[in-house]
């Protein structure tokens, strides 16, 4: 490899060669039933490659982290190309921020419930353009008009009955100009899109052959484990490596600025070496940091005037004239992502190139991070993006790529860096403390005459996606801050509150709506209670405009399936939530039982979703089911605490997540819609947190305005 590269082959060839070397990139099944040997392959565009042997390879810009993105992207492309999705090859897009940028985010990002929404815009057009180019090429070969040709099952068919395969005309098609406005198929003609196609990644994920980042094993790989300074932001001071180097299998100890790595012949040997390292740390500024200090700082930010992000009507005036006013302060905790696959990254760094195996939601950024850490130009860094064992926002960060390359700089040959679960939880990029104050001037029937919501949180977008800000406001943090309601006067304010330096904050499944839906829906539920009105009827009365028709329909459907009016036993309760987010509209009803020790058991969750046009209904259902479970973990248990600058939790015993015996029955009802598709990965999480908290109020009379739910608040007598 090195020799070839030093002679300067093209980047494309380099990436192809790397793929062959590392394996795991090519997925799916070739038309011929053999291994991929495309002969001469032609790129019709960034997403479609057709081999002379008629193999069609789809290049998928959105990574697969469980959300079914590979399957739905293949559906979109196969539909426009008139191909059987089972007979195409597909592969993960290489890093290329230009070619593979999400139109939603302007970068190569898989997140924000945006895979399908982004792909819907880009991939149908790409598929249609390629189809038109193939038809044009065939028509030119036959000297007939394009209009006299049609495509069917991977062939171009002329009215005369003559046929050509895609492979036979691909080379000519690739030379044609790309159509400016390719005509996408009418939905009424869809064969593949709109169907619950079985997931393409299932077979490999049930027989152990699926390759995740952690499964990379390039020849000669060594295994490294790391320990970062336990005090967040602290640095390495000194390390005595003598005992570690005596341990069987330990090869070397690598000292980084903020961490130490032990490299060994296997991961366990590396851990045993780490165990006997004598490390001294410089704890730095966070040595006495506590959760209480961060909570106090967020409360202080609530007292400061913020930047106004939304104004509707006149809230000041309404508050002055209102006779009754409601106010609530809501506090959300620090959270970890705790994806099942602990963070890891494998790096083969040579003087002139760097090869990286990883699972990343941001392949382009991973390449950039590796290039920076390696001191190499971007094009000298190849990224093999394998399956992600959960993303949830954690793998939107590249700290673990940077760290692995830093380790690799000291290691000869490839090295895999694996974080322990403890490291994974303690060196998080956390969902930070968000505090909110909602002030409502009450009008007729206790309905909100005005809605003032001051949101306190870090401006993650200033770092993560600067374009997603406006006038200093992180647009995510204020997303969904007033609910899907017709309230005449609205004022949303943002008071920025950053975490102490060294405690990193980032995106967490559901981003803005996961914070704000709980806040808004708790307040609305409380207002209904104060007004002596049914929580659903109260919400419905605020949803009468055209703008609120879709969320209202979702709420109605969920309520109908939930048996909202049926009587429940004592200490059982139902709670509702409704919101719009990620271009989807969700109504949810949770039913809980709270035992006399205050332990909450979620009995069932009914969700209705209008996610616009649905490409794969079963994947939508799965995403909502999973999103709900993720939200239940957060509302029941999710909390990271800090003492002495250190994370107090370390593994699933101290950072519990939902287990099967706690998993409720879940129903997902999809509303038929021809609107543009909405996102589905995150709405379930946002809705579940709010609906469960409201159900707990119905069961116990306790209004939880701080998460997670605390059983000692919910005890019976």
């Amino acid at each position: 490899m090195t020799a070839i590269l030093s002679h300067g082959i093209s980047r494309r060839a380099f990436l192809t060669a790397s793929a062959a070397l590392g394996g795991g990139l090519l997925l799916g099944f070739p038309l011929s039933g053999q291994a991929a040997s495309q002969g001469v392959a032609s790129d019709l565009n960034a997403f479609i490659r057709v081999g002379a042997d008629n193999t069609v390879t789809l290049v998928l810009p959105y990574v697969e982290m469980g959300q079914g993105a590979y399957t739905s992207q293949v559906q979109l492309l196969a539909e426009e190309l008139e191909l059987d999705p089972a007979r195409v090859l597909y592969e993960a897009a290489p890093p290329d921020e230009g070619r593979y940028a999400s139109p939603l985010f302007g970068g190569q990002i898989t997140g924000g419930s945006g895979s399908l929404r982004g792909a819907w815009r880009t991939l149908r057009a790409a598929g249609a353009a390629a189809r038109e180019m193939l038809v044009t090429a065939a028509a030119q070969r036959w000297s007939v008009s394009s209009e006299s040709c049609r495509v069917e099952n991977g062939q171009i068919i002329h009215a005369s009955g003559r046929t050509l395969t895609y492979g036979e005309v691909a080379a000519e098609a690739a030379l044609l100009p790309v159509p400016d406005a390719p005509v996408v198929k009418q939905r009424s003609n869809y064969r593949v899109v709109g169907q619950s196609l079985r997931r393409l990644d299932t077979p490999a994920k049930i027989d152990g052959t699926a390759k995740f980042g952690i499964d990379a094993r390039p020849p000669g790989v060594q295994y490294a484990v790391v320990a970062s300074c336990p005090v967040l932001g602290g640095k390495m001071k000194s390390v005595d490596t003598s005992a570690a180097l005596m341990m069987p299998g330990v090869k070397q100890v690598v000292r980084l600025e903020r961490a130490v790595a032990v490299v060994a012949t296997n991961t366990w040997a590396a851990w045993k070496g780490l165990e006997v390292l004598n490390m001294e740390w410089d704890a730095g500024a966070n040595a006495s940091l506590t959760t209480q200090q961060m909570v106090d700082a967020a409360d202080a930010a609530l007292g400061r005037s913020g930047i106004v992000s939304t104004v509707v009507g006149d809230v000041d005036q309404t508050e002055m004239t209102a006779t009754d006013r409601y106010e609530a302060v809501v506090r959300l905790p620090l959270l970890a992502h705790a994806a099942m696959e602990p963070l890891n990254c494998t790096v083969d760094l040579r003087p002139d190139r760097c090869e990286v195996w990883v699972g990343s939601q941001v392949v382009g950024r991973a390449q950039k991070a590796a290039a920076d850490a390696a001191g190499l130009p971007l094009e000298r860094v190849a990224i093999h993006n394998l399956f992600l064992g959960g993303g949830f926002g954690r793998r939107l960060e590249t700290d673990y790529v940077t760290q692995a390359v830093q380790v690799a700089r000291h290691v000869s040959g490839p090295v895999k860096v694996t974080w322990s679960r403890e490291e994974d939880i303690r060196q998080e990029v956390f969902r930070y403390h968000n505090h909110s104050r909602v002030t409502v001037a009450l009008g007729d029937g206790g309905a909100p005459a005005s809605w003032r919501h001051k949101v306190v949180g870090p401006n993650i977008m200033s770092r993560f996606l600067p374009v997603y800000q406006k006038d200093g406001v992180d647009l995510d943090v204020v997303n969904a801050a007033s609910g899907p309601y017709d309230i005449p006067n609205i004022l949303i304010e943002y008071s920025r509150n950053e975490a102490p330096e060294g405690l990193h904050t980032g995106n967490w499944r559901g981003v803005g709506p996961t914070r704000n839906v709980f806040i808004v829906e708790s307040v609305v539920d409380d207002l209904a209670h104060r007004a002596g009105r049914d929580p659903v009827e109260y919400r419905r009365a605020m949803m009468n405009s055209a703008d609120t028709a879709r969320p209202r329909a979702a709420l109605e459907l969920a309520v109908q399936h939930a048996g909202w009016d049926e009587t429940l036993p004592a200490r059982h309760g139902r709670g509702a939530a409704v919101f719009s987010g990620f271009d989807s509209h969700v109504g949810m009803v949770a039913e809980v039982a709270v035992d006399i020790n205050g332990r909450v058991s979620v009995q069932k969750v009914i969700c209705a979703i209008d996610a616009g046009y649905v490409v794969n209904p079963d994947i939508v259902r799965a995403q909502i089911e999973g999103g709900i479970i993720f939200g239940l973990s957060a509302v029941l248990y999710g909390q990271v605490t800090i003492a002495g600058g250190q994370v107090e939790q370390s593994n699933f015993d101290t950072y519990p997540v939902l287990r099967m015996r706690e998993a409720p029955r879940i129903e997902v009802h999809i509303i038929d819609s021809d609107e543009e598709p909405g996102g589905v990965g995150e709405p379930g999480t946002a809705g579940a947190i709010a609906a469960v908290a409201n159900a707990v109020f119905a069961a116990t009379g306790f209004r939880a305005l701080t998460l997670p739910l605390n059983p000692s608040d919910l005890r019976g007598v």
Binding site: W271, E275, E422, S650, N651, F652, D653, T654, P656
Partner: protein, 208 residues
């Protein structure tokens, strides 16, 4: 109870210093001192109760109590919180069908890389005590009467109880509980002596 057994217990008892309120387990290895003379003057019943209360410091240690829970699910750790992952006893105390204790618990303790759980405890006979031997939430007196009750102690005679407490290696695990766990007080040998003397003095139980 056989004469030999009683004799053995009596001879062991002199090694043991027992004064109510004084921690006997810690001084077992020292030789008998003068207080033994005053012991004889204590009414046997009171002395027996005191012996049991001393032994109860072992019985009530998390190392023992965690597997003698109030429900059919074990607890864990010094705080005796619910075992994670949650686990049910199953019909035989070995876990539900398909998930035996030894899915996680091997034949001996295993060190881990964990921070809060530095080792996974293990023993060839790792299992949950039967429901009849549930101890958590009970007073020493209640546990004492339960231990003597043939219907709730696995049909063991006092001699067998002594044998179990003094010799059983699963009981002995309490003093060799693996990294990250406080052993039960004293030693199994001392515990066996205490239990033996408690039996020899009439196996009296505390009130309440």
């Amino acid at each position: 109870m056989t004469r030999d057994f009683l004799h053995a217990v009596a001879s062991l008892a002199v090694l043991c210093t027992v004064v109510p309120g004084v921690i006997a387990l810690n001084v077992v290895s020292s030789t008998a001192d003068q207080t033994a003379a005053t012991d004889v003057q204590q009414p046997a019943h009171e002395r027996s109760v005191a012996l049991f209360l001393d032994a109860a410091r072992v019985i009530e240690s998390p190392r023992c109590m965690n597997c003698h829970p109030a429900t059919r699910s074990p607890t864990q750790g010094e705080a005796m919180r619910l075992h994670t992952p949650p686990i049910d006893a199953g019909s035989e105390g070995h876990g539900p069908l398909g998930l035996n204790c030894n899915t996680c618990h091997g034949s001996e303790n295993v060190s881990t890389i964990g921070i809060d759980i530095a080792s996974i405890p293990g023993h060839p006979h790792w299992m949950l005590a039967p429901a009849s031997m549930s101890w958590q939430g009970k007073t020493p007196g209640e546990i004492c009467r339960q231990i003597k009750d043939l219907t709730r102690n696995g049909g063991r005679t006092l001699e067998q109880i002594h044998e179990h407490m003094a010799k059983d290696s699963l009981v002995g695990w309490a003093w060799n509980p693996g990294d990250g766990r406080e052993p039960a007080p004293g030693s199994q040998e001392a515990f066996g002596i205490l239990v033996g003397e408690w039996i020899a003095t009439g196996a009296a139980c505390p009130e309440g």
